[in-house]
């Protein structure tokens, strides 16, 4: 298929009259089609070309075995509460002291991440959660997705960001999710369409049987979606989305062809997060204007026999991030990319009867990138009985905890340079984690 844009097709087909009632995005496309290039991609309201990569740890990561206390009452209580799960002290990778004077360290499988930390590229944000914690996966995930403690909003915090920052964008690939076929709520927007690519970009294609008939078929498909039979609002919307799909598939498939891998930077084929991040690198290398990419690593809901699965997940996490970061450096993109992790909750401090842990509250999250001001943010949660939720065994959300919306606010204000208050429904304290 010729590499022409949907815009050109619309123009060629003579779509002129604007129907009343088209969505805002469709309206702007029509305007652009009619009047050459007054509104271009550069007219996006977000004045940066910075990129955010979101890594979701799906299931509730056991933060206490990820960032581990090495001193004080927390360290001894940790070993007392976790007779089988506590990581042997000799294996823990020390990071340093936090603001409360607790010495903390990484789980041994986070060695690649520790190296990045030592280069100053990792901010370890401790005790991240929110007041009145919800320990249901789907409810707490919704809260993190939408930044709404009632969990009732229908759009996500990054979807809202896209609507605010790119009200008239032409780009069908402003944001992309590689986390399955359902678009994560984080990226649901009122107007901006975000494709859920699935986990293999190469499968994001129009399939035709037989493949040799592909050109013929796509030509006809485009024709069916270009012609204006009437000013029927729904029909036009469907056509616009169909043309968008053709354009985004074309952009992606030809874009990722341009990526050449570096033989010294090897993404482990057994590591599904690494595979996903390699595809993120391919998309970024194609320079398609994508600003947000979303990936997910599942399996963190470790209610029983936690030790082996959790250590494997942490190995995958750190190895994937380190490889991806090296690739960004090689591609000359590391300056513009920020990585963040999130997980719907941590887990209980006391291990359960099945050598596992149950749903908890606060846990540490990471920000990684060249522009991150590396270090330890916040305090390790106290494990003293009076600081745990009574009868529940997980840390209370206290003044020493960090609201996850502070991380969001910091990213929105300092990284993306937009006002975070309306998106988050309030003002949240910004964290000193970026050097921009």
């Amino acid at each position: 298929m010729n590499k022409t844009t949907r815009r050109e097709f619309i123009k060629r087909s003579g779509m002129t009259v604007l129907s009343v009632g088209l969505s805002q995005q469709a309206f702007w496309r029509h305007v652009r089609a009619a009047s050459e290039s007054v509104l271009t991609r550069a007219a996006a309201l977000s004045p940066t070309d910075r990129i955010l990569v979101v890594i979701q740890m799906d299931g509730g990561n056991d933060g206490l075995n990820t960032v581990i206390p090495l001193s004080g009452s927390a360290a001894s209580l940790y070993r007392q509460y976790r007779p089988t799960l506590a990581i042997p002290e000799a294996n823990i990778l020390p990071l340093g002291e936090d603001a409360a004077g607790t010495l903390i360290g990484f789980h041994p499988n986070l060695l690649p991440l520790q190296r990045l930390y030592e280069q100053g590229h990792v901010a370890v944000v401790q005790s991240v959660g929110y007041p009145n914690p919800n320990r249901s996966h789907f409810a707490s995930q919704d809260i993190w997705h939408t930044a709404d403690p009632e969990g009732r909003k229908r759009t996500g915090w990054l979807g809202d960001y896209l609507d605010v920052a790119f009200p008239s964008s032409d780009n069908p690939l402003l944001a992309v999710s590689l986390a399955g076929t359902r678009l994560p709520l984080t990226l649901r927007a009122e107007h901006v369409l975000v494709p859920a690519i699935g986990s293999v970009v190469a499968n994001y294609q129009f399939r035709t049987q037989p493949p040799s008939d592909h050109q013929n078929k796509m030509r006809a498909f485009l024709a069916l979606n270009r012609e204006t039979a009437s000013e029927h609002r729904l029909r036009e919307q469907i056509q616009l989305v169909a043309l968008d799909a053709v354009e985004s598939v074309e952009m992606l498939q030809s874009g990722i062809q341009r990526y050449t891998s570096d033989p010294t930077i090897v993404y482990n084929t057994q590591n599904r997060l690494a595979q996903a991040l390699q595809q993120v690198a391919q998309i970024l290398a194609a320079r398609l204007g994508t600003r947000i990419l979303y990936v997910s690593l599942g399996g963190f809901d470790t209610h029983q026999s936690q030790a082996t699965p959790h250590e494997r997940l942490l190995a995958y996490l750190s190895e994937a991030i380190a490889t991806f970061y090296a690739d960004l450096v090689r591609l000359g993109l590391d300056d513009r990319v920020l990585l963040m992790t999130w997980s719907e909750f941590g887990r209980k401090v006391v291990e359960n009867g099945n050598q596992g842990t149950d749903h908890g509250t606060v846990s540490p999250q990471f920000l990684i990138g060249t522009r991150v001001k590396g270090g330890i943010v916040g305090e390790h949660p106290s494990l003293r009985a009076e600081d745990l939720n009574p009868g529940l065994g997980d840390p209370k959300f206290s003044v020493r905890s960090i609201d996850f919306r502070s991380i969001y606010a910091t990213i929105l204000e300092k990284w993306f340079l937009v006002d975070s208050r309306e998106i988050l429904g309030g003002a949240f304290e910004l964290l000193d984690v970026l050097q921009v």
Binding site: R207, D213, K217, L224, R235, I238, Q239, V241, A245
Partner: protein, 516 residues
């Protein structure tokens, strides 16, 4: 331009059912619009599609055996229901079961016993008796899907899947303010009856206290963990020892000793100064949105609410009466239903997309019925996967507020998913559970047109079948060009078959097929 009678009938059969083959449209046109409406509404006179024996057999398995294969169970159940929708002589019944599934949205993801979701499906069909846990066809007394809404609230509140899904199973007497679990009481008001605010007056319909008081009345409403003859919990039980006997203060009324007080208040509740009930308006709005168009005008909502309220002497709370108002020509509501604004103004959900595709392409002119959806594992897997990619998995709504409809079904991902699903299903040979294309072409009398390359005729035929209208000049031209374009390296014996499949694929991927 107003719709002619044929258009109206086609529109009616697309909306009140899952679309109709041209033969069915012709037969309906011969009967006339009025008679067609009557047949749709009074569907009990036609036989129901029987249950799937494999689904039924799974209900008798010990739980551990069932759980090991519950994914397969869900897959077979989904296939069966889609097949029912595609082949039933009671299309409006199934459309309403789908409507209630989307409104009283319950997901297996929140259930310990997935078998219960099948019972809920039959509950919505009127074939389940929660008091005995039995499947009966029909279950006497069960008002679903088009009966008395007041009684439906009772059958919904006793439904085993619902009792587990929204935790009323654990709701026990606590104090004079609230039961121990208000989850169900909340959704009962917010999502299942009147909504947060009056649809027309835009004032709040209830207070937090109303919900808490309602939760008291619902205490002790649970499912028996065990019952003789059953392998999983499925029998409703009212546990007086866990029940708070009130009196309650709810929606401005004081009294009652059980949840019937709550249901009675809900269906009669009107906001100050309002003529129509809040539930009447909520259901009027949701029904018209489902069958007609989005954002119905207040007059339409109020007219339907009047019917719900029995304002003109009809039996109140009757869903069928509301449907009769929508579909029977000659009133304000049906005028809107049959208007240009409503015509082709509905985006098919993935369910409607799959079912209409199956109905039209497996229709056997000899029997006058569609074959339906093949139970072959190939097809089942393809459909399950396709619907997941399209954004709708039956029995697994994303949350208790159901699916976002209309244009929310359309995204770059879902357009791609529909395109690929249509491609994949058409690529299947009839031996693999695919469409019987040969029979279709023979019954259409198209072999000559094909062999003589009278492609215009072929395109016109499929447009009439799939789009139920003639193709536009541009579409016709593009599709003829497609048929004429050779496929490199294709053998002459297969290219004809490939091209026809390709043509059908394109027409299923066109905007005209996404809209009904």
């Amino acid at each position: 331009m107003p719709l002619d009678e044929y258009d109206k009938i086609a529109h009616l059969l697309r909306r009140a059912g899952f679309t109709a083959h041209p033969d069915e449209l012709d037969a309906a046109a011969a009967r006339g619009l009025q008679a067609t409406v009557e047949e749709l509404l009074n569907f009990e006179r036609f036989p129901d599609v029987p249950p799937d024996p494999e689904v039924l057999a799974a209900l008798d398995l010990p739980q551990s055996d069932f759980d090991r294969n519950r994914g397969d169970f869900l897959n077979k159940l989904t296939r069966w229901w889609l097949h029912v929708m595609a082949t039933t002589p009671r299309p409006l019944q199934e459309k309403m079961v789908l409507f209630w599934h989307g409104l009283f949205a319950t997901s297996v993801a929140g259930l310990e016993f997935w078998q219960q979701i099948y019972l809920q499906n039959e509950n919505f069909r009127g074939n389940f008796d929660p008091d005995t846990g039995q499947l009966l066809r029909p279950a006497p007394g069960n008002p679903f899907p088009v009966g008395n809404f007041r009684r439906m609230l009772e059958y919904l509140s006793k439904d085993p899947a619902m009792l587990y899904w929204l935790d009323n199973q654990f709701n026990v007497k606590k104090n004079s303010e609230v039961g121990s679990n208000e989850n169900y009481a909340r959704e009962l008001h917010e999502l299942f009856s009147m909504g947060v605010e009056d649809v027309v007056a835009k004032v709040p319909n209830y207070t937090e206290r109303d919900i808490r008081q309602a939760s008291r009345a619902l205490t002790g409403w649970r499912v028996l963990p065990r019952a003789a003859g059953f392998t999983f919990p499925r029998v409703f039980s009212f546990d007086a020892t866990r029940h708070d006997f009130g009196p309650y203060e709810h929606l401005g009324k004081r009294g009652g000793n059980n949840a019937d007080f709550i249901f009675d208040n809900i269906v009669r509740h009107r906001n100050p100064g309002q003529k129509q009930s809040a539930v009447g308006r909520f259901l009027g709005y949701r029904l018209f949105k489902f069958f007609g168009y989005e954002d119905p005008e207040p007059e339409i909502i109020n007219a339907l609410a009047d019917v719900f309220d029995g304002a003109n002497g009809e039996e109140p709370f009757n869903i069928r009466n509301m449907l009769r108002t929508i579909f029977t020509p000659g009133n304000l509501v049906s005028e809107a239903f049959y208007s240009e604004r409503a015509f082709r103004a509905h985006v098919k959900s993935p369910t409607e997309y799959v079912v209409s595709l199956v109905r039209l392409l497996t229709f056997d002119r000899a029997t006058g019925r569609p074959d339906g959806l093949s139970p072959s594992p190939n097809v089942r897997r393809l459909v399950q996967n396709g619907m997941l990619q399209m954004g709708q998995q039956l029995f697994m709504p994303p949350d208790v507020s159901g699916w976002r409809e209309g244009l929310a079904w359309i995204s770059t991902t879902s357009i791609l998913a529909r395109f690929n699903f249509a491609n994949d299903i058409l690529a299947l040979q009839v031996t693999q559970g695919g469409i019987d294309l040969t029979r279709l072409l023979v019954q259409a009398g198209l072999q000559d047109a094909l062999s003589q390359q009278r492609y215009g005729e072929v395109v016109d035929f499929f447009a009439r079948l799939l789009w139920q209208s003639p193709p536009s000049a541009d579409a016709r031209e593009a599709l003829i060009a497609y048929l004429q374009a050779p496929i490199p390296n294709a053998s002459s014996s297969t290219v004809g078959d490939l091209k026809i499949r390709g043509l059908i694929h394109l027409m299923l991927a066109a905007p005209d097929f996404h809209l009904s």
